[in-house]
Subunit: 279 residues, 2 copies
């Protein structure tokens, strides 16, 4: 299989490009931005490649946190880039340029970047190691790569609910059928090591939600996770993975976890590795 074929760009049923989905991504980014990015900042004068910026959900947070760094944010979809540019302009960030490119066919010379940043991209790729290895080659010696991915198998909740777990399983299975891996968060460490990064350190970022944290009940459990599951309903039913009644029961089970005695857990994984002289 050629690398270009291996790339599965954000399948429409998982991360679509409609307005509702874009809003969900923005909500997700707003709620999670501190959890995921509070410890990512790049020194003035450095050049950072954001590989797979999508609609710019993370780009704004990155650019505002490192005003002296220069970002090159790359996506395969011109429409996504247009939205990302708009978000960046609205936020008043002036240190981002955009580039339309395929992550498996990168239009940059080796050693072009001080840092590479990859967030919510590998989950969609059938060849994540190849993608990381290609990105690694763009780093100067001593540069770093940061990788952030979720893991839908890390979701568990109270009340525990079979139908809700089945609905989550539908998303995992759809992603698998499209060539991706919804359980990729737990694989960030071995993927980065296999791609040739050195001194890889992975730090999980767990989102814990109970009713004492209403902003997460709303912003994460309802508007991020459950909205994402809701968004794959038609695809899951039409592909025969479930039926409408079962899927609705699953959604009710997920919403049930947002009540006063409910609990919801999910974990993102953030890895940082280095480009070594001998790698």
């Amino acid at each position: 299989m050629r690398l270009e074929e291996a790339m599965i760009e954000a399948p429409s049923y998982v991360h679509g490009y409609d307005r509702r989905e874009t809003q969900r991504l923005a909500d997700q980014a707003g709620t999670l931005v501190d959890l995921l990015h509070h410890d990512t900042s790049y020194p003035p004068g450095t050049t950072v490649l954001e590989a797979g910026c999508g609609v710019g959900a993370q780009t704004v947070a990155l650019a505002l946190r490192s005003p002296g760094a220069r970002f090159v944010s790359m996506a395969i979809s011109a429409e996504s880039i247009a939205q990302a540019r708009q978000r960046v302009d609205l936020a008043g960030a002036t240190n981002v340029e955009f580039c339309r490119a395929d992550i498996f066919s990168l239009p940059f010379a080796p050693g072009s970047f001080d840092h590479v940043f990859v967030c919510f991209v590998l989950e969609h790729l059938a060849a994540p190691v190849e993608a990381l290895a290609g990105l690694r080659s763009l780093l100067r010696v001593g540069g770093t790569m940061t990788v952030i991915e979720g893991d839908h198998g890390s979701a568990y909740f109270h009340p525990d609910d079979r139908a809700a777990k089945e609905a989550v399983r539908c998303l995992i299975e759809l992603q698998r059928r499209s060539g991706g891996d919804a359980l990729i968060g737990r694989r960030v460490f071995p993927l980065m090591v296999e791609a040739g990064l050195h001194a890889v350190r992975v730090d999980p970022r767990m989102v814990y939600v109970d009713s004492s944290r209403p902003e997460l009940v709303e912003g994460f459990t309802k508007r991020t996770f459950t909205a994402m599951i809701e968004g794959i309903g038609s695809a899951a039913i039409s592909s025969g993975l479930t039926d409408a009644d079962s899927f609705d029961a699953g959604l009710r089970g997920l919403y049930r976890t947002t009540e006063v005695d409910g609990v919801f857990c999910y974990t993102f994984f953030k890895g940082v590795g280095e480009m070594a002289s001998d790698s």
Copy 2:
């Protein structure tokens, strides 16, 4: 059901009292002591009830961290108390007294304690809220209760492995049949709230293990979690939940996660709540 009947004290197949099991608990306590207890210390002059101290795995850490506090550590088993006392003496802690008692029939007056500490106890109880409510009544107004529990449903790993998940499921099912709940960690918040604690705040403590953290590969994945699963093999097979070949395959799957590209995740939940004047 009378409360005394509801109490399931550390079933032998889960937390047995043999030497190997005692060593496992000690290993677990050593590896996890900072993660779980680094932010628990009690002021000089306060009196703390440790409810369900078992063989004293947490008692030493508690007592040494708060040398000016006085601990009353309680267990239902005289044999456990003898071991706990020995551990405390060996560690040189002089601020612990032991008391043999049933958590559902507590020999203390209301308001006797400044703080109550409960760790790895509720998972074995069929009536955890009643246990917590009884302990709450022993607190003076303004006192705190700390609850720590694991959650075996929070375990996931790479490589993902069906047989390994089945082996974990056997433990969850055995604990359920004995009246306990191996998924209780995610319930710490609602249980404490239902028991009448105020201002409950739960903070998850995730154990993330990959080969860059060899002390956790050894101390947690192998010697704590997988050892625990291994310890229920006979019971799981004799109860018809699995067969020897399937269970062995599950153990191999768990050990596989300790190789250089493996990852293992598990989460403990730590809750702190207050005894309010109107509660």
